[in-house]
């Protein structure tokens, strides 16, 4: 624990990564405890591995089924489907079967693309959100919320923290982070050299998410394949540069990193419409001692 008695900082494993939560203020202790409960709830609802999660129940449902889900799952799907429509399917949570086949999710093996009814899995267009937190499936799906649930969990944790008497806080779920209160210092790892980092301007009540390839290896230990699936090509991509998206909330930042990686500058209008900024840290080492960062979207950060 730090020397500042009013600062509480803890970390627990959730969502397949480490969630680090810190808060300062009179009720920092109970605030952080409540924030972890919020993260645990999102984990339980959206886990691909847990048979009782909303995600598993959706993935087991037959074509034509209407599935009741938690309001939080519905909210994440709502954001995901909007983004799918805005990007023509470049962002699509219904790609779990490809991740499974590549070994990034369990259950892989020959023939796992087909649902038991013999048809291939549907895509985002086969999911329809209905009132009362229900989801109708026109085809069987295999959804994975890994590209958006961490960001959402961060937002839920921040909301939980702010329900208490705290002045500042930061929630970091495996590199998807969001700060509130006083501006917070953030570093982004250099894509080619994880021991090096670049300092961003302090994050002033914003979220940042980073997508890059250096921690990703599949279960066979084959290096270098980033499990970023191009839904249109249905394969996993390899990408050396690092994409950081800064946005007002972490769910948006998290989901947009995937879109920016796939579409690059083409998504500048979308970034502007969603109030987000993309930072591409280039992996090349030509500029010794410094990293080149390409910026587009809304200018949220103040560089000095």
């Amino acid at each position: 624990m730090t020397a500042n008695p009013a600062l509480v900082r803890r970390a627990q494993p959730w969502l397949g990564t480490f969630v680090d939560i810190q808060a300062a203020g009179r009720e920092a202790g109970p605030a952080v405890a409540a924030a972890f409960e919020a993260v645990a709830a999102v984990h339980s609802l959206m886990s691909f591995h847990d048979a009782a999660s909303d995600v598993s129940r959706l993935n087991k449902a037959a074509a034509g089924a209407v599935v009741d889900v938690d309001a939080r799952t519905w909210e994440v799907l709502d954001c995901a489907l909007r983004l799918s429509r805005q990007t023509d399917g470049a962002f699509d949570v219904a790609i779990g079967h490809v991740l499974r086949r590549q070994g990034y999710l369990p259950g892989g093996g020959a023939g796992t693309d087909a649902g038991t009814d013999g048809g291939a899995y549907g895509d985002y267009r086969d999911l329809a959100l209905m009132p009362g937190n229900r989801v109708r499936l026109s085809r069987r799906v295999c959804i994975d919320l890994g590209g958006i649930a961490k960001g959402y969990a961060v937002d839920c944790a921040v909301a939980a923290l702010r329900g208490f008497d705290v002045t500042d806080g930061l929630v970091n779920a495996g590199g998807d982070l969001r700060a509130f209160g006083a501006p917070q210092p953030v570093r982004v790892r250099h894509p080619a050299r994880p021991a090096l980092a670049v300092a961003l301007p302090d994050l002033d009540n914003l979220a940042a998410a980073t997508s890059s390839g250096y921690y990703t290896q599949d279960l066979d230990g084959r290096g270098g394949v980033d499990p970023l699936v191009d839904p249109r090509g249905q394969t996993c991509l390899n990408w050396a540069d690092s994409v950081t998206v800064v946005a007002p909330d972490a769910m948006r930042a998290d989901a947009l990193t995937k879109v920016v990686k796939l579409k690059g500058r083409e998504c500048e209008p979308l970034l502007l419409a969603l109030g987000a900024q993309a930072l591409i840290i280039e992996a090349g080492e030509e500029s010794a001692g410094s990293a080149r960062i390409v910026l587009y979207g809304k200018e949220l950060l103040r560089w000095t």
């Binding site: 803890r10 397949g16 980092a197 300092a199 890059s212 410094s290 960062i293």
Partner: protein, 171 residues
């Protein structure tokens, strides 16, 4: 089409040896998971048959035989364990309820090391600025890192191993 803006930012080393965050000491984590409870040390050293049985039940290898455990008055256990990733070393605590279910997992200490690279002068030299002879700076102020997901699989595997350990060697 607007030209992309770009900016050149200095890179700094996260650490010359180890980047670490300490969250809890043993005394602090006991209070965090079992506030106000009386804990009695119950350390054991695993025998060969116990090690084999734990590995069989959990599917996870046992790397060291010393088990750091405390029995909680009224039921429950606290264990402190360590796991190693490729560059990471993590100490964590697991609290179990009286019925054997997981009560809480808290990271106590996180260390990562790419130090073997950063300590090597030849490796550092490539980052010397072209106009200045300044060495690669060490960033002293790192608290929050945004980056790709570090997997917590080692810890969740460790929890599986500890659950089997309690069943095999502590009950």
């Amino acid at each position: 089409m607007k030209h992309a803006a770009w900016i050149l930012m200095p890179v700094a080393a996260i650490s010359t040896s180890v980047y670490a965050t300490t969250y809890f000491t043993v005394e602090q984590v006991q209070q965090a998971i079992f506030p106000g409870a009386r804990l009695t040390p119950a350390n054991v050293t695993l025998t060969d048959p116990q090690k084999a049985e734990i590995e069989r039940r959990s599917g996870v290898n046992v790397l060291h035989r010393e088990v750091r455990a405390w029995k909680v008055a009224g039921g429950g256990w606290l264990l402190v364990d360590e796991v190693y990733g490729k560059h990471e070393f993590i100490t964590y605590a697991l609290g179990l309820n009286a019925d054997g279910s997981v009560r809480q997992v808290e990271i106590m200490d996180y260390k990562e090391s790419y130090g073997y690279e950063v300590r090597n002068p030849a490796w550092r030299h490539q980052f010397v600025g072209k106009t200045a002879a300044s060495p690669l700076k060490l960033d002293q102020d790192i608290k929050n890192i945004s980056g790709a997901t570090l997997s917590s699989k080692h810890v969740t595997d460790g929890v599986k191993r500890l659950l089997a350990t309690v069943a095999v060697a502590l009950k």
